[in-house]
């Protein structure tokens, strides 16, 4: 009966809607309604639409998953979500299909005598906990390590941090966000003293110019790019693509400016030179709100084991900074950056014009850089000199790559040196953590240990004897994977891998734990614009799959830390979030309560008195500003941001006689990172079945390479044979090749170099030297 009445009601509702639409059509002939998403629904399907954030990129679109009879059968964009307003991208629309893959991990597997044996999960967890205890007893606390992810949920990151730093007492916890956002974080902390962007996505509605620095937004942050295109069509906003290679974004942009890899440092300085020289500096803003500083130069590239570096900042004044910039006149920079003087002045003009609102967007081009922290500082310099910051439509915006690198890795602090609030080196922060975690203050160690690259080097050396990876695939995503694969295969290290699908990382594991996928567990993610989004569990996972947070809690219980993790299995997400919120109380970082997150499609932090703070550091929008001025950069003790003097330094490895090509790596819109999820989605696999190497047509002609021919790309570290791609998805410049890294069988990271930015420790995947030959 109830079914009948529901159907009759929905029938009548459709009739009412149809009647209204007919009436409207008589008034406005040719009227069209945005109801295509409702039209295609099967008749009588009782789809239960549940909201959540998308599993993939850092845009953090809101999705609605249609669940029918306990299975996810449809995905659509959440029209209530401010981020995407009902639109998704091809990965987002098909994301739930990956869990239908036949080789999904459903049971724990333990390696016995060279082959994997299906084991009941509780037994496997016992094995892991015992091995962890054993290793700690024999070799000390610092011989065990955990490697989590910017795709872990907030509760997952929180319990990992509590276990390693609070309970066990080691700082051997790092995450793959080190490979993605570390330079952005270091840039924020050195310039502003506080992490994460000061603007939000609403900037897109107000800006006149969008300048992208080395990122292909049309494929990597597609929904944001569509919003920019909408502004381009409606308001005449302009998109300028500043990159090392021509991409889909360049095709849609108003102007595309190409530069030689690594010279973004020089061009940014040249733009500052032009701004100062043409008197476009916002003098009042700089005087009131900025200090000048310089750091060490010639800081190395981190390619040796146990590389250590600490920057020594030194205050300078405006005159010294101006003198430093004399080396970066547009004429001088044009010579080696391959950007014409005209283009540099064009960019400087856009930034310098006080009547134009400019938003700068960047992601991996600037972060995965051996001087990543410096280039982040330099783009902030441009915005600080002109005072174009923290205002609607005006400001720098560092885009995040992973869905929760902000929410989990940066805010919860799953890095070797971080705590949920602050850093391990600071006594006050350790005391706060000890209080909330209810552990003795002495437990939390004060010295950071290994960052991601060093952690895997330590595994190779034998210093780390137990490593547990969650929600990440390091043996495809680390640079120079050749070394790290051998390291993890060694008997000296016991490897535990929690994942949803079998990957090259789980191939070397001693214990494989089956993890729940996104909608099979509840959780929270935080996206690029500081928006935290919550979702409830939508479907049951198969077999013995378990959420990663619960796995950590079970291990902690078995190791004797049960009282520190008093969470229930049904509600652990809620309980953990409420505990975590205590760390961030206050107007500067307050997180929204769970009831708000459950009702709304996400809330931006700082969440103060029921309102999200959209533009930080601007007294008009940010209640945390307390110095009575228009802007207050409260991350720094004196309330002023820092303009850093950073020079141009060449890349760690650049083309020479023997290895004459630049190798650049990156993604494509169809696939996410290492492809373990997206390649198992048939639509996406059919659209992009394998990796390739892109050439410029002139280079291809010189080498005699045709489209689709097999080409071997070799560097000093390894090689990879791939089919050539000419004039298909992307167009590199002459002397450059590009390879996407989603294909685990065409592993381009065997070829890349593990040089990193000495300040942030983020590796540079975009520049190394290779040679190319036909096979």
């Amino acid at each position: 009966m109830a079914q009948e009445s529901i159907d009759r009601r929905s029938f009548i509702k459709k009739m009412a809607a149809a009647a209204a639409m007919t009436a409207a059509a008589t008034m406005f002939p040719g009227i069209i309604f945005a109801s295509e998403q409702l039209e295609n629904l099967p008749k009588g399907a009782n789809l239960d639409w549940k909201k959540g954030p998308c599993r993939f990129c850092g845009v953090g679109c809101g999705i609605l998953v249609g669940v029918d009879k306990g299975k996810a059968v449809a995905v659509k964009g959440d029209p209530n979500c401010e981020v995407n307003k009902g639109l998704l991208c091809v990965k987002g629309y098909h994301q739930t299909m990956c869990i239908q893959a036949k080789d999904r991990l459903t049971h724990a597997l333990v390696k016995k005598n060279g082959s994997y044996v299906k084991t009941p999960i509780h037994e496997a967890l016992d094995i892991v906990a015992n091995k962890m205890k054993e290793t700690m007893e024999k070799h000390g606390k610092d011989s065990v390590a955990m490697y989590t992810s910017g795709q872990s949920t907030i509760p997952e990151g929180y319990v990992a941090s509590k276990l390693m730093k609070g309970a066990i007492g080691t700082n051997n916890l790092d995450c793959n966000a080190r490979l993605c956002m570390a330079s952005a974080v270091a840039g924020f902390l050195t310039t502003f003293g506080a992490d994460e962007p000061m603007g939000c996505y609403e900037d897109i509605n107000y800006a006149d110019y969008f300048i992208t620095w080395g990122n292909n937004m049309a494929e990597m942050h597609p929904v944001l790019f569509s919003r920019m295109l909408e502004q381009k069509n409606n308001r005449g906003a302009k998109i300028i693509d500043f990159a090392t290679r021509t991409t889909r974004s360049s095709m849609a942009a108003n102007k595309s400016i190409l530069f030689e890899p690594q010279t973004d440092l020089a061009v940014a300085n040249a733009i500052c030179y032009e701004i100062i020289n043409n008197d476009w500096v916002n003098k009042l803003f700089v005087e009131k709100h900025c200090n000048f500083s310089k750091g060490l130069t010639n800081i190395g590239y981190g390619t040796e084991d146990k590389f250590k570096f600490k920057d020594k900042p030194e205050g300078i004044n405006f005159e010294e900074y101006k003198k430093f910039l004399e080396d970066y006149t547009p004429e001088k920079v044009a010579k080696y950056s391959k950007v014409s003087v005209k283009d540099i002045k064009y960019l400087a003009n856009i930034y310098g014009d006080p009547n134009k609102k400019v938003v700068s967007y960047w992601c991996m081009g600037m972060n995965q850089h051996t001087r990543g922290t410096w280039i982040n500082n330099l783009v902030y310099n441009i915005h600080l000199l002109t005072g174009k910051i923290s205002q609607p439509g005006n400001g720098p915006f560092s885009l995040t790559g992973q869905p929760s690198a902000c929410g989990t890795a940066r805010e919860v602090g799953t890095f070797t040196h971080k705590l949920p609030k602050g850093v391990v080196m600071n006594e006050k922060h350790r005391r706060l953590a000890a209080k909330i975690w209810k552990v003795p203050y002495e437990n939390i160690p004060s010295k950071p240990t290994y960052h991601a690259t060093e952690m895997f080097r330590a595994v190779d050396r034998g210093d780390i004897k137990f490593i547990w990876t969650q929600v990440t695939n390091p043996l495809v995503s680390l640079p120079k994977t050749g070394r790290y694969r051998e390291g993890m295969e060694k008997d000296s290290c016991f490897v535990v891998v929690s994942d949803v699908f079998p990957t090259p990382t789980s191939d070397v594991a001693d214990v494989i734990l089956p993890a729940s996928w996104h909608i099979e567990k509840a959780g929270l993610y935080g996206n690029s614009e500081r928006r935290t989004q919550h979702w409830d569990k939508m479907v049951e996972g198969p077999g013995d799959t378990m959420p990663d947070a619960w796995m950590t809690i079970e291990i902690a219980k078995r190791m004797g830390y049960g009282e520190l993790f008093p969470y229930s299995e049904e509600n652990h997400v809620e309980e953990i979030y409420n505990e975590y919120r205590q760390f961030h109380e206050g107007a500067k970082h307050g997180m929204a309560p769970l009831e708000v997150l459950k009702k709304e499609s996400g809330a931006i932090w700082p969440y103060v008195d029921g309102k999200s703070t959209q533009w930080r550091f601007n007294a008009e929008y940010d209640p945390a500003c307390s110095n009575g001025e228009e802007f207050h950069f409260y991350g720094k003790p004196d309330g002023k941001a820092v303009i850093w003097q950073r020079p141009y330094e060449p890349a760690a490895e650049f083309p020479d006689q023997e290895y004459p090509f630049w190798l650049n790596t990156g993604r494509v819109i169809e696939h996410w990172h290492t492809g373990s999820m997206t390649r198992r989605i048939p639509v996406l696999h059919k659209a992009m079945p394998h990796a390739y190497v892109e050439f410029h047509p002139e280079d291809a002609r010189t080498l005699g390479i045709r489209n689709g021919e097999k080409v071997k790309v070799t560097s000093r570290r390894g090689s990879c044979t791939l089919p050539a791609s000419i004039n298909e998805r992307g167009l590199p410049t002459r002397g450059q090749v590009f390879v996407p890294f989603f294909d685990e069988s065409l592993l381009i990271n065997d070829v890349t170099l593990d040089a990193f930015c000495p300040i942030s420790k983020e590796p540079d995947y975009k520049k190394c030297a290779v040679k190319v030959e036909r096979v």
């Binding site: 945005a34 449809a74 098909h94 069509n233 095709m251 102007k255 996406l684 059919k686 167009l731």
Partner: protein, 223 residues
């Protein structure tokens, strides 16, 4: 007196000659050529550029009405094509036979519009940069055949292109020579089965990817 005057006059003339000559010599040494700055051509990727073409008319496309009386259907669309992806033959008589196409074709087919003579909307060409139109598009001058042949049906996959109910349908055809989606899928000349309801979203390939159903299925991903 006269002699002195003459000497001074010639001396002055001499000096003037020397001065002007040396001035002109030094001026001639100056660089006469002002170096032109080389304008670098904007690079473009053929298969990627097409998606964004005509995007400036996207809002206009959204407002264009549905003209039920003069709509094309996929059946009429395929009437003048030998197979899926073939260049359509020209179904209307053309004015001037002695040209390659170019402006005389583009004047109607670059932007489309209603043609009362043929009581139809002119389809928009997805590749207007190719101006030698009559290299591929020919007229139909007779109805009969030279010798009989077996007619082959070709399959055009337009059902079940979306993996999920309500999801974005895939592009079931190859996109070579029709990279520009709006030309065929928007506007009143679009066949009604494929006319899109949201032409103002310019980045089509953000949600719709190419799963070419004309070729053999490559199957699912296996490790």
């Amino acid at each position: 007196m006269k002699r002195l005057f003459l000497i001074v006059l010639f001396a002055l003339l001499m000096l003037a000659v020397i001065y002007m000559w040396s001035k002109s010599y030094y001026t001639s040494q100056e660089e006469a050529y002002v170096q032109l700055s080389v304008e670098t051509e904007q690079a473009f990727i053929p298969s990627e550029k097409g998606v964004f073409e005509r995007a400036e008319y996207a809002l206009d496309y959204a407002k264009m009405p549905e003209d039920k009386n003069h709509e094309r259907t996929l059946k009429t669309y395929y009437n003048n094509r030998a197979f899926h992806g073939a260049p359509p033959s020209i179904p209307h008589p053309i004015i001037d036979d002695l040209n390659i196409g170019e402006k005389s074709c583009l004047k109607c087919h670059q932007n489309g519009g209603y043609v009362s003579k043929f009581k139809a909307y002119a389809p928009v060409v997805p590749h207007p940069e190719k101006v030698n139109c009559r290299q591929c598009h020919v007229t139909e001058n007779t109805k009969g055949v030279f010798r009989n042949y077996t007619k082959q049906d070709f399959y055009v996959p337009i059902e079940n292109n979306a993996e999920f109910v309500g999801g974005p349908p895939v592009i079931p055809h190859q996109i070579q020579l029709h990279e520009n989606c709006l030309a065929c899928h928007a506007g009143p000349a679009a066949p009604k089965e494929i006319r899109v309801i949201h032409p103002e979203r310019s980045n089509c390939r953000q949600c719709h990817v190419v799963n070419n159903k004309e070729l053999k299925d490559i199957g699912d991903f296996i490790r």
